[in-house]
Each structure stands twice: as C-alpha cells, then as structure tokens.
C-alpha cells in the first residue's frame, strides 16, 4: 500500500470533480418546480419605514408572492438569534436588540432586507422587486465607532443608549496601573484595524424546499455549519422541529467565516417554500454580498506597554472600540472579547494585562468573524506595539522579542488573560524564519534597492493564536449558547470499505482527503476505499461545523475516538474468530493478530463477520461495525510562529511590492503538508490584502463606498509574491493527533509583518505607525511630505 497516512502529501480526492466542472454548489441545485426569490433591500443607511406597498409588484408577470416583515410577523416568525452573550463590567448583560428577518419598522444599514419577491424566473422576481413602493423617513446615521460613541450621536437602536452593546473588560486594572506607575518607560500606540469584506468567491445562495406530503423542509445553503443553521433557524426563527428540517451545505466555494452565520435569506426561502408550496431559490448578486455578508475586523484601539529599563515588558493596557454594525450577527459578541483580549499576551511573558472593549452599534453591515477573528486584531496590535517599543527604546526588533518570549521550557504556561498554552517554541520558529528569509543579509539588499531608487524594508511578526474551538464548559461560562464539541460517525462496511460522516464541513480545506488519511493511518484502509461525507444533517448525526481552525483538532479527534471504538470491538470479534483472549489481540496496519503467533485476520474478515454474524459472539456483542464519537476538546490549541515580509516601495508612485514572504508556523502535527502549505499561503494572501489593499469604506452618512470589486481592492495574482511556507512543530499535548490547526495562521501572522516592513522601508522618514491598508496614496504622501529625516528624531 502506498504511503497515504499521516504526513503524506497525497493529492486531493475532491479535485477531480472541481476540475471537471462537476462540483455541486448551492446555485447548481435546481429542484422541480423551483421558483426564484429576489430580495428588496434598503438603500438608506438609517430610516423609518412609513409605508410598504406591494400591490403593483404582486401583479407583475410571473410573480407568485411578495412577502414583507409584516407577513412574517403574522406567521409568528422569530428574529435572527445571537449565539453568544457577553456580560458588561457591571455584570449586566449586553444589549441584544431584535434582529427581524425582514425589516419591519426601521432599516439600520444599506442592504437591510425589507421584502422578498417570489416569481417564476429570477428576472421576473427582480423586475417586480423594483415595483415595491417604500416610503422612508430618513434618520441621521453613524458609520464609524468614534462617531457612534460621540455624545448626541443618533441611536441605531433606541434601547441601546450611547450605541453601546456592551462595555466589557478582562484583567485587574489596579494591578496593571500599578505596573505602569513603576515602569521606566511607557510606549503608547493608537491604531485601527481596518474593516474587511470576506468575499468568498462563491456568493451566498439558498434553496428552500417543502414536501407537502410529509411536511418536511429542506434547506440547501452555502454554510460552514449546517447543523448549527438547523438548530438556530428551526428552534428560534421558523419553529420547525429538527426531525422536520434537513439542512444541506453541499460544495461551498469558500467561507472564511462569512458563511458561519444564520442569514435572513436562509430563513426567508425556507419559510417562503412552505407558503407557496414550491421550492424557492435565492442567489446573491455580488453587490448583495458586499452589503449583506458579515464584514470583519473594524477596531479602534489605544494600546500602551510598560517596560523596565532593559526592555522587559511589565504590563499591557488596551482600550478598544469594536464595531458590531447594525445588528448582532450570530457570533459577533465573542470576537472582540474572548477571541481578542485573551490573546493579548501573545508569545510574550507580559505579567499583567488589562483590556477593556466597548462594542458599538453603527449603521453598517453586521461585523462578525472573518479568517482569524479577533486574533488578527490582537496580533496586529501587539506586533506593531512591540516594534514601536523597539524603536522608542532604541532596542533591536529581534532582541526585544527574544528577551520577552515565553521560554520553551515554561509550558504549560498560564497567561494573565485566562488562556493556558500547552506547547510552543517561539525561539525555534523565529530562528527558522529569519534563516529562511536571509534576515542577516537584508542590509545588502536594502542597499541594492536604494541604488535603483527603491525603498526596501523588512518586517517581523512573532505571533500566536488560539483555535481548535472549543471546550464547551469553558465557552459556556463565557457566554456561548452552544457546545463546541465535534462528532464523527465511522462505518466500516461489510467488505471493508469505510465511510466517515463528519460534523465538520469542507469549503476548500480538503477534508475529503485529510480526514480520509486519518482512516488510512489508524485502520490501515487504502485512501480510495475511504469516503468522507459532510454537510448534510440528514446523514450526519450532529456537528458544529468548520471555523476557528477546529476541523482536525476537534473533528479529527472525534474520528480517532470513533476508530478506537471500532478497533476495540474488532478485537473482541477477532478474539472469538481466532479463539484467543481479547487481551492477546493486537491491531496494526489493518490486521488483527494474536500476540506471539502467526494467526491474524484482516479488518475485512472482521467487518464481514460483524455483518454476517454466523460465527460471532452474538450473546455479548451486537452485530455491525459502525461507531460514533462526540469529542469535547480539553483546551484550545495554540498554533504560532514567525512571519517575515520584505517590501520595496516605489518612491514615485508609493506602490508597495512584497518582494519576499516567509512564514514558519507551528501548526502541530501535519497530516498533509501540501494542504497545510496551501492553507497558509491562502491566509497570507488575505493578510497581505488587509495590509496593503483591502478596505471597506463607509462615508460619514453610512453609504458603503467600496461596494463592488471595482472599488474594493481584492488581491490579484500580480499583487502577491511567491509565499514560502515552513513548519517547525511542537505537538499539541491534549489531543491524540497532536494537531493545532493551520487555517487561520496565515491571516493572523502576516499583516503586522507587512506593515512593519513598510515602516522599516520608510525609516528615514520618521514614520512611527501607518494604519492599514498602506495604500500608495498614503505612502506617496509621506514620501512627498518630506526630506528624509533621521529615524530617531
């Protein structure tokens, strides 16, 4: 058997269909008798709706029905629920205003859905939607967090005074203030983390189907977690019990977080299908994606580091305003709190940390997790601040990091912000990355670039993140309204092939291959005899889906546990067949053998006996070889590493070219190195995008200015370099695979590396900080505004 198990760079099983145009994405699904939905959305950032008249639209050709929020309310349809409740400093719960599926009396952002037309064709639905008459009373709007918290700002929700959703904190302020009082030096930095639009290439889509005979509903949707959608939509919105609702997330064209949440259109098409008793399909146009997919990031932060005279970090104090948008998206409240502030120790042994976060409502699209979710914000803050500490104290950027690293022998390491890291070696990833990037040889390259009239800089980021989300009891105590375990059902069929039913979901990660490799490794079954099934609540027992780099650490571990059960049962069957005692049976490479003898049985012998139990210990053992395991992780996992970016800035245009990028990450054990590399490269591309190109811009009145690919600068092939990826691993100590997760590291580690490099390139211009994106215009202005000054001025 070829080597296909853990560590093999096997080519992906899913590629054949994707490469031949045989993928099965939601918009490819057509149900018999299907109708099409078009959503009429608000073009006003903030307004009262005084009248909606659907008379003309209802009479338009091909129209079956027009529905508004009032129709849903009449049917007792609930609002979109929020899955996480944060408590404020004073113990009070966050403000959680209603989030109607279709806006009823007020719209709160451009793109807020108001009505839906269901018609025979997409064009008929769209044409009719134009005929809906809506009278608005416009209200003043707020788009930025600073404007939203200003006194006298218009209120997005009447019951959220000051537009504050919550005012939360972590750490002991008095202790941190005391550390600052005795510090030799305090370094302060104000920064923003730019708002991003995830833009998976597949626009969101949903097809609702209703079977009048059985009363069963099926929703096909672009989701990262179909069971979560079934739970939220069934229990809280449409009141359909789980046994009458199937949610299928077929091939999904990228998610990056934006397809975790339960969206209005999913509930709308499912409900509408029941009303008109025919299937109803909705597919977003890209313009709708820009104004209705949850956005990411959008923080405004003041951070201060207290240092002693030799550059040791004594304390960190952080105050952040986080934009929630017009409503709370499914997981929004936990992003700037438990996925952000708890990461502020980073790879450093900063002894005391205090962070306060105000989450703020604005007249913008809801903000939620986007690749990295909270951790890129924490990392950008820390790695910028550490560079500024080096600059302000005159220390070397590498030296100040090494001095403050948590040493490799300090694990398990308890941070002052709740997390306990299990393993890591930050010196090792830093060393390997500096070497691969030829950091030592940089000054010569800077000189060579200068001779060509280019400004060259190099930047480092040493980072850590928390993923493998998450221990249920822990997140429950922090406000999560769900458990975050994972589920696997593994069937060994009578003739020895295997089907894995996983609660995780693949939307580009390659689970059909990686998860199958786990089966090769543990059960000794060849890859082509293993099938991985995901994304269908009708087939899979349960699952929490894929986000937070959790699929292997949590979902893979559930598989290991299910396979352990299969092996344990197989041993009993083998003992019976070979007339030996169970304790003497060993299992290796797909063979059950009796220790110390040459007697053995293959897994197929055992599975056949299990399903054709003629000679079988039927008195004490049930037939079949089919096991399910639920696994609740014991801790988060903590991937980390070092990213080095090297840039050249054109003095005449301000354009930055990333000329070299090296990432050396500790992602724990690697199952498929080819896939890990691809995940890191994709993440880095998004991180470089955030650092140099991407920005979701609202004008002061709440209109989205970057609402298409013409205005929102997506990274294109020519904007990016080849991305060198290395790994330098330590094993996760609390899951049997030793895996940590690799989906988000690229997007988390890279933005500060790029910005640190840009600032290094501009060191003669006295630049202390530049907010992202470091656009040509910003850099050109800096370069134009002055003769080079000395860096230390």
């Amino acid at each position: 058997m070829p080597f296909e198990g853990i560590g093999a760079a096997v080519r992906r099983k899913e590629d054949a269909r994707f490469l031949s145009g045989r993928g099965n994405y939601t918009d490819d699904i057509n149900r018999p008798g299907q109708l099409y939905a078009y959503v009429r959305r608000s073009d006003r950032p903030h307004a009262r709706i005084s009248r909606i008249d659907t008379t003309q639209a209802s009479k338009a050709p091909g129209v079956m029905a027009v529905f508004t929020g009032a129709d849903m309310a009449a049917d007792n349809i609930g609002g979109l629920p929020c899955g996480w409740q944060i408590h404020c400093k004073d113990g009070s719960p966050m403000k959680e205003p209603p989030h109607p599926v279709l806006a009823v009396d007020k719209v709160r952002h451009v793109g807020d859905p108001i009505a839906v037309v269901v018609a025979e064709t997409k064009q008929a639905a769209k044409d009719a939607a134009e005929l809906i008459e809506i009278d608005y009373q416009e209200l003043p709007a707020v788009a930025s967090v600073r404007d939203a918290v200003a006194s006298g700002a218009p209120l997005v929700h009447d019951d959220a005074p000051g537009n504050i959703c919550y005012d939360w904190h972590i750490g002991d302020k008095a202790v941190v203030d005391a550390a600052f009082a005795k510090a030799a030096k305090v370094v302060k930095l104000e920064l923003t983390n730019n708002r991003l639009i995830p833009n998976a290439m597949e626009p969101r889509a949903a097809v609702g189907d209703f079977d009048p005979n059985s009363g069963d509903f099926t929703l096909y949707t672009t989701s990262q977690n179909p069971h979560v959608i079934r739970l939220l939509m069934g229990a809280f919105v449409l009141h359909i019990p789980e046994n009458k609702l199937r949610v299928v997330a077929p091939d999904v064209g990228g998610g990056f977080g934006s397809k975790i949440y339960h969206y209005a259109e999913e509930a709308t098409v499912t409900w509408a299908a029941g009303k008109v008793r025919r299937p109803v399909k909705w597919t977003a146009e890209r313009a709708e994606s820009f104004m209705s997919d949850a956005h990411g990031r959008d923080h405004d932060t003041v951070a201060e580091m207290a240092l002693d005279a030799d550059g040791t970090f004594l304390g960190l104090r952080v105050s952040t305003l986080a934009n929630m948008g017009g409503y709370l998206s499914t997981f929004a409240p936990c992003i700037p709190t438990y996925l952000y502030a708890t990461l502020l120790a980073g790879v450093y042994k900063t002894p005391v940390i205090y962070c306060e976060v105000k989450a703020v409502f604005t007249n913008t699209v809801p903000v939620d997790a986007y690749r990295g979710a909270g951790r890129p914000e924490a990392t950008f803050l820390l790695e910028r601040l550490v560079d500024v500490c080096a600059r302000d104290t005159g220390m070397d950027r590498v030296a100040i990091r090494r001095k403050n690293f948590i040493p490799a022998d300090a694990f398990p390491y308890q941070t002052p912000v709740a997390l306990q890291y299990d393993s890591g070696d930050y010196q090792a990833t830093l060393d390997a990355c500096l070497k691969a990037a030829d950091y030592a040889g940089f000054e010569a390259r800077r000189g060579a670039a200068a001779a060509k009239g280019k400004l060259r800089g190099i930047g480092i980021s040493t980072y850590l993140e928390a993923c493998g989300i998450a221990p249920s009891a822990v997140v429950g105590s922090l406000g999560a309204r769900a458990g975050l375990y994972e589920v696997a059902n593994i069937k060994v069929h009578p003739t020895g092939s295997v089907t894995v039913y996983t609660g995780t979901h693949s939307h580009g990660q390659g689970h059909e291959t990686t998860l199958a490799q786990l089966v090769c490794d543990q059960l000794g079954v060849p890859l082509d005899q293993v099938e991985v099934v995901h994304g269908d609540t009708g087939k899979i027992p349960f699952g929490m889906g894929t986000y937070g780099s959790r699929s292997l650490a949590v979902g893979g571990t559930a598989m290991v546990k299910a396979m352990d059960k299969i092996i344990a049962k197989g041993k009993k069957i083998a003992a019976h067949l070979m007339e030996a005692s169970v304790e003497d049976i060993e299992f290796k490479d797909g063979q059950f053998s009796v220790a110390g003898t040459d007697k053995s049985k293959t897994l197929t012998d055992i599975s056949l006996a299990a399903y054709v139990p003629h000679n079988y210990p039927i008195e004490e053992l049930e037939p079949g070889l089919d096991e399910t395991a639920f696994y609740d992780p014991k801790n988060f996992t903590f991937p980390g590493g070092c990213h080095v970016a090297e840039v050249e800035i054109d003095k005449d245009t301000g354009v930055t070219e990333v000329v070299n990028f090296v990432a050396v990450d500790d992602v724990g054990r690697v199952i498929n190195p080819m896939i890990v590399e691809g995940q890191v490269q994709g993440g880095v591309a998004q991180g470089i995008g955030q650092a140099l190109l991407e920005n979701a811009v609202y004008d002061e009145g709440g209109q989205l200015l970057s609402g298409s690919f013409m205005d929102y600068s997506m990274p294109r092939a020519n904007d990016l370099p080849m991305i060198t990826v290395g790994t330098e691993i330590t094993l996760c100590t609390h899951n049997p695979l030793g895996v940590k997760g690799c989906g988000e590291v690229g997007a988390i580690g890279s933005p500060p590396a790029v910005i640190n490099a840009v600032i290094d390139a501009l060191k003669d211009y006295g630049v202390r900080h530049i907010d992202m994106p470091a656009s040509p215009q910003k850099l050109w202005s800096i370069i134009q505004s002055g003769t080079p000054r000395m860096a230390a001025e």
Binding site: R11, M201, G253, A287, G508, G683, Q686, F709, R716, A717
Partner: protein, 163 residues
C-alpha cells in the same frame, strides 16, 4: 423569443433566449452546464470564463445572442472524450492549485488560453499579469502560478508532437 444556435463542447444547440440573457445564463440555466460559475456582477472575477471560438471570454459579459453561430468550450468539455484530463487540469491537481474549486473552472479556462497564446514561453510575471481578470480568494495564487508554469511545457510539447 429570439433563438440562438451555437455549438457547446462539440454539441449543437438551438435555444430560445430573452434579449438580455447572458451567455453564462444560457450555459448554466438552459443547458445545465453548471461548471461555469458566476462570482460577480462587474466583470471582475473571471469565474465565468469559457472559450468562444478558441479564445477566453467572460461569459457574464456577453449576451447569449452574441454567441450565435459560435463554438463554445466550457470546463465540462476540456478533458478528452475518454475522461483523460487536459494537462492544465492535471497540473492544477498536481500542484494543489485549487481549494474550494469555485474560481477553478474560469481559472483553468483562462490559463489554457494564456498558455496557448504564448508558445514562446511564459515567465512568472507574465502568468501573474495574465491572471489579471481572475480572482481566487483561497490559494493566494502561488500554486496556480506553479501549475500554469508546469502545464506550459506539457501543452506545447503536445502541440509540437502533434505537428
């Protein structure tokens, strides 16, 4: 309703369309060829790229009527009749140049045209510039660039051998 007659993947079709029907709508909705994708509404992403008379074209930016009488090749028709993958498909698989697969059909069709158009050779820079009209959110393009570079000799050797 007006009619259009065109050949798609070697098969002739006559289809009724509205004047405003796009080529991509004809392919996906009338012919059921859902391998060609729609990723945007501003002609920016290239998920919809097919070949029209041998040259890549954004099928979201062409009316179905404009394709009347033409010969269209979509991703479904790229592999050989016996199912053998085109070298570009093969190299995308070999170099892990796809993750979610959504950009892939358009990316592959663009890449085939790019390689065809450059028998003299293709540098990394030219490949990156040649992908100007194709967005991928998953891969960071690194492996796509590698796959196209690896497909170039295979495609041109094959062409040379056939001559």
């Amino acid at each position: 309703m007006p009619q259009v007659t065109l050949t798609v993947n070697g098969k002739r079709h006559t289809v009724e369309v509205e004047g405003r029907t796009l080529l991509v709508e004809l392919l996906r909705e009338k012919l059921g060829l859902t391998g060609t994708h729609v990723g945007c509404d501003t002609s920016q992403c290239g998920a919809c790229v097919v070949h029209v008379d041998g040259v890549s074209a954004k099928s979201c930016t062409m009316l179905a009527l404009q394709a009347d009488g033409s010969n269209v090749l979509t991703i479904e028709g790229l592999a050989a009749a016996d199912g053998t993958l085109h070298p570009m498909q093969e190299m995308f698989r070999e170099h892990h140049a796809l993750q979610c697969g959504f950009c892939t059909p358009g990316m592959v069709m663009s890449a085939v045209d790019l390689v065809n158009a450059h028998p003299e050779g293709l540098s990394e820079k030219q490949i990156r510039e040649g992908l100007e009209g194709n967005l991928c959110r998953c891969t960071g393009y690194h492996n796509i660039v590698k796959a196209i570079a690896a497909a170039w000799p295979l495609m041109h050797q094959k062409a040379a051998a056939a001559e």
